[in-house]
Subunit: 332 residues, 2 copies
């Protein structure tokens, strides 16, 4: 049984860095162990034009500091002109579509996918990937993702050369959809490989495991875990790590998001080790993303050993997953 | 359209009064508007012998004070002897069965229903109703009640003269089960007539609407509401009002329970009025319970008028349902 592993250029293909003091807190925590990450654009206002993109990219680079870490910037979806897209093309990894009101700071999102097709057609022609928060906000919370899946069918067929990423998938049905279309890919978070709604609300209510899309049923978690542990080539790790200060979590009106980035690699090593699948971890946390996006991340070797470490109770005022608990692996 | 209603002897057939300072806070709030209630026995230790029953009955009566309010005491299920049952028979309305570990203070509950059958047979012979928290604790949280329903089938058939109350039902399937057996009845809470899991976790997470059994799907809520609004004769109002101090709700590890008792009648009047069903409210909040249990509550007339009132932010340190919000009806 391996007691250490060397990961080459691990990537977090879905990460919330926020801005200001929160950015300064969380960006270095990701940059310590990852070689790059896809930075989500749902600020207030969203990152939805070249000027704001350039400002935010600069902010992220400043916060990352001297760490070897490439921020892959995502633009917030709106209906863009061809000139808009041409201007940002070289500065972004893709464009992130949020249905209106579906999660934190998605209020300026898309009301109807059909209104967005002209921009999608141009994205297809310009080879700009479409990253999608795939939930129907009006649906019952446990059905929001499965109700959105027909939209993926529609998009995949209508734009067969558009690279579509189903972000943070949470259902067995979404895993199945990966095999239906060549141009459909997905990210999955750490928590959705580990938990179900039982962990959020089955015993005492745990606000720190509350996120959108909400954790689903055991059979959904099992399907996601199986796909990750077998390094399904169309599935990438994307933490969706989403920091909120303690007072926004342990309150009435708890914000959605689980903060996992600083411990994600250690917990993934623990999880893959527990399932005798450590040999699949490199593909899951980097190789698949490189193939799907056609990117070459900076060289960075992360050394993990099978030794217990204790998770801090908090990073600043943000409570991480498994706060105060133990992980069986640690980054050296 | 009626703008006032007079309810005769409204009853809350499932209520948590706790003990000590919390009892002193909440018992008068129920006793102000209800003529009686079924008092749950899940204290620590549970109310599971004559001595503790007599002590708790005295505590409840003391806390109720001069209000016209009859506490109908429920005993905590364990395997009792015939002598035990004979001794408590006149002091209780029924015996409450909790599967082990299913909710607040249910740790001493029943591990297997088959172990409990001897006591149930004696209860049937002595005409002692069986009140059941019908959830399978090991099941996925959304399935715990539906997975328990076959146990009701089994009990109803094995003990056809045992009065069985499915407490705080939350699913359409449980409503259907009411019509399958003559000896099966149910209570339903205020919140399960109003909310779904969407209200708990569909937007921001709301710990004050978190309870066990957890609120289910829209079609479940609709079936419960239809049964209540039509005053299904086997369905009784039981608030399951469960006070927890604020710090046990807005925290990591939020306790299960919604505090509804002080505003329950006003909110029920509002709800039934909104559905043009005020004429069914008397049966739902008193008549059905009287028929099912064969009880005659003390005379008490509660006058409600269609005038807005504001719900207090807190009662003591307990946050009620619709805290700080408005109700379209109020008790005069």
């Amino acid at each position: 049984m391996p007691t250490e592993i060397f990961l080459q250029s691990p990537l977090d293909m879905h990460i919330h860095f926020r801005e200001g003091a929160m950015l300064d807190l969380v960006a270095p925590l990701s940059a310590e162990t990852f070689a790059g990450g896809v930075i989500m654009p749902n600020l207030v206002p969203p990152v939805a034009d070249l000027e704001r993109l350039e400002w935010y990219t600069g902010e992220v680079r400043r916060a990352v500091g001297d760490h070897v870490f490439t921020p892959y910037m995502a633009l917030f979806f709106r209906n863009y002109s061809e000139a808009d897209l041409a201007a940002v093309r070289e500065s972004i990894i893709g464009i992130k579509l949020y249905p209106e009101g579906v999660t934190t700071n998605s209020e300026g999102g898309v009301k109807s996918v059909s209104d967005a097709e002209q921009t999608m057609a141009m994205m297809q022609d310009m080879d700009i990937p479409l990253l999608v928060h795939g939930e129907v906000p009006e649906s019952f919370v446990m059905d929001r993702e499965s109700d959105f899946l027909p939209t993926y069918d529609e998009l995949a067929q209508k734009f067969p050369r558009l690279k579509i990423i189903m972000e943070h998938i949470t259902t067995a049905a979404a895993v199945k959809l990966l095999d239906r279309y060549e141009n459909v890919h997905a990210t999955v978070t750490l928590q959705h490989l580990l938990i179900t709604l039982d962990d959020v609300a089955g015993g005492l209510l745990n606000p720190h495991l509350f996120c959108k899309p909400i954790a689903k049923r055991p059979e959904d978690r099992d399907a996601l875990l199986h796909a990750a542990l077998t390094a399904h080539p169309k599935l990438m790790f994307g933490s969706d790590s989403a920091p909120h200060p303690l007072e926004k979590k342990e309150c009435c009106g708890c914000a959605a998001g689980v903060f996992t980035a600083p411990v994600a690699l250690a917990m993934l090593a623990e999880l893959f080790d527990a399932h005798d699948a450590l040999d699949k971890l490199q593909a899951f946390v980097s190789g698949n993303a490189q193939s799907i996006y056609g990117l070459t991340p900076p060289a960075k070797t992360v050394h993990l050993v099978k030794e217990p470490c204790t998770v801090p109770a908090k990073y600043g005022d943000v409570v991480p997953i498994r706060s105060g608990g133990e992980i069986g692996w640690r980054v050296v």
